[in-house]
């Protein structure tokens, strides 16, 4: 009897303390949401604050961003374009490579796989200056292409697709060969559809990485109307604090789509992010 009472108490303590932890972790997001309805002059004076004058709240920040801030929407468009290109290209090429590494026996296969792991371990920051110089001499600085290029064959994705394809039935390939299908037909018509869940996981992971990517776009994008959202918003972070209307409402508009995606596709987010922990 006594232990049962103890368990009930423990349950309460555990749930309440976790609720508090969740609240603390979510507080910055909630603070951002609430503050986005405050006048930007208040924000400049207070920052994000516990003391809020609710009677002052309005949707002016959003009205401003929808009606006047055309610049913000060109950043939004650039981010959408770049993330879209990254998702399509990196999924196409990385799935091809990962599939080949898993399904075919060929000379150099292990070497290629070791190289994939090696690239995974080299921090991008080490390569960025020579890569940047390469983009300058190729005269493609300030284009979508320059931003997307280093992400097209993503080692994380190759690794993930290889692991996933290892679990696919090889007998299907033989059956298709007997039916007269080409190797490319087998990949695109039979195996790629079977890799659907892994494609979804990587689409989300690559999309998120590209949507939030900062340092590389900061290097290769130069003109304001080519900026992506993170770069554009960062330019508004001036010491004078005169841009809070776009900054705060703009930030909300960049996170909300991602959170909605997350709520619908939680499963794939988790699969994509824990893929690095899968042992080869």
């Amino acid at each position: 009897m006594n232990t049962k009472k103890e368990n009930v108490a423990l349950k309460w303590i555990a749930n309440i303390s976790f609720a508090i932890i969740s609240l603390i972790v979510l507080f910055p997001i909630i603070g951002l949401l609430v503050s986005s309805f405050r006048p930007s002059s208040d924000l400049m004076r207070d920052g994000i604050s516990f003391t809020i004058d609710f009677s002052n709240m309005n949707v002016d920040n959003y009205m401003y961003i929808f009606n006047e801030a055309s610049q913000y929407w060109s950043w939004y468009g650039n981010s959408l374009m770049i993330s879209g290109m990254t998702i399509v290209l990196s999924l196409f090429f990385s799935s091809m490579v990962g599939y080949a590494l898993a399904m075919y026996d060929f000379k150099g296969r292990n070497l290629f796989f070791v190289l994939v792991l090696l690239i995974l371990m080299i921090p991008f920051e080490i390569l960025m200056l020579p890569l940047y110089q390469m983009m300058v001499s190729a005269q493609i600085v300030d284009t979508y292409f320059a931003v997307v290029l280093p992400l097209i064959v993503a080692p994380v994705a190759v690794f993930f697709f290889r692991q996933y394809a290892m679990g696919l039935p090889k007998e299907l390939m033989d059956a298709a060969r007997i039916d007269g299908s080409t190797e490319y037909g087998i990949f695109f018509k039979i195996m790629l559809p079977l890799m659907g869940p892994s494609l979804a996981a990587m689409a989300i992971l690559q999309g998120l990485a590209s949507w939030n990517n900062f340092l590389w776009p900061l290097l290769v994008l130069r003109s304001n109307d080519m900026f992506t959202l993170p770069i554009g918003l960062a330019t508004l972070l001036t010491p004078y604090g005169n841009n809070y209307d776009i900054l705060i409402a703009g930030s909300v508009l960049t996170i909300i789509p991602i959170i909605i995606l997350f709520i619908f596709f939680q499963r794939y987010f988790v699969a994509g992010l824990t893929s690095g922990g899968v042992k080869g």
Partner: protein, 318 residues
């Protein structure tokens, strides 16, 4: 192949060849020996052009003085310049950041995962999701929120809490200790949910029988954590802390979002920030590359030492 193609160009054979040639080519392209190389081809190109070439070129650049239209080898001069006060400041900031984030981002998510996995908790999905949501924000957006929460004014959230505790308001972005605090708390906030997922995934693999056996032996909760849970989590503890070390040395945005490229007294200068400042800002690509090579060596050495100390290589031999 090439001789076949050439002969097909010969006009006398033009009428006959076009029907046979594509078949031969298709057959060649479809043979199981060739197909994998075609599939892997994008990776080969990308490795050569986007990894190997920049890596080699970066090392070469680190021995050069690079001016527009004029490149000159200057031996080790860039490397001797790396040994300066600013670099040491950047390195010490980065190292402190690495140590703090490794501690926080390993211990806290591990404990939260154990709690989240316990039978006492309801609403598990909700709690897990809410801890994960910060990982969805970009560092820039997250950093802007933290700038506003830790703004210098008395009415910001942080200073309101500080004054509740009976202390003076803090100029968060202008003291060495609070600058480090800001970067660490921003980094930790964004990564806790991700590391939590790694630990949760590993916890699922511990069999319930082990705990039942421990119950029969009369073990208490702490003993079960100490002798069952933590040993089973060891591989993931090593994985998470290694990733955190490497990410910590790569840190840049957490500093950029608070101070852009220059902070008062370099309180927020990091090694990658220093590469950016010198290589791009000052357009001194040779010097920037030298810092990059030094950073690479540091990451490499520390990772190896760490993996040896934690016995990762030994496990492979067993």
């Amino acid at each position: 192949m090439s001789s076949d193609l050439q002969s097909s160009n010969a006009s006398s054979e033009l009428q006959k060849k076009p029907f046979k040639e594509p078949n031969k080519l298709l057959k060649f392209l479809n043979s199981k020996k060739v197909v994998p190389y075609i599939f892997v081809f994008p990776f080969i190109i990308s490795f050569l052009v986007l990894t190997l070439y920049p890596a080699v070129h970066g090392i070469i650049m680190s021995f050069q003085k690079i001016l527009p239209g004029q490149v000159e080898f200057i031996g080790l001069e860039n490397y001797s310049r790396v040994a300066n006060a600013n670099f040491y400041k950047a390195l010490s900031n980065t190292s402190i950041y690495v140590i703090l984030t490794v501690l926080i981002l390993t211990i806290v998510p591990m404990l939260l995962a154990v709690l989240l996995d316990s039978k006492y908790l309801k609403f598990k999905t909700f709690f897990r999701a809410s801890l994960f949501i910060p990982a969805l924000t970009s560092t820039i957006v997250g950093g802007m929120i933290f700038r506003l929460m830790f703004s210098e004014t008395d009415s910001s959230v942080a200073n309101q809490i500080v004054s509740l505790l009976g202390m003076e308001s803090v100029d968060w972005r202008y003291n060495a200790w609070s600058a480090m605090f800001l970067m660490v708390i921003l980094g930790s906030w964004r990564w806790i949910g991700v590391n939590l997922l790694y630990f949760l995934a590993q916890l699922q693999s511990i069999s319930a029988e082990l705990y039942e056996a421990a119950d029969i032996d009369g073990a208490n909760g702490f003993q079960k954590l100490r002798f069952i849970t933590i040993p089973h989590l060891k591989p993931i503890i090593i994985f998470v802390s290694t990733i955190t070390i490497i990410n910590g040395f790569r840190m840049f945005e957490e500093s950029f979002v608070f101070w852009e490229t220059s902070s008062p007294g370099n309180v927020g200068l990091t090694v990658v920030g220093y590469i950016y400042q010198q290589g791009i800002g000052q357009n001194d690509m040779g010097f920037g590359s030298a810092i990059g090579v030094v950073l690479m060596l540091i990451i490499f050495v520390i990772s190896i030492i760490y993996l040896i100390l934690t016995g990762t290589f030994k496990r492979g031999d067993e």
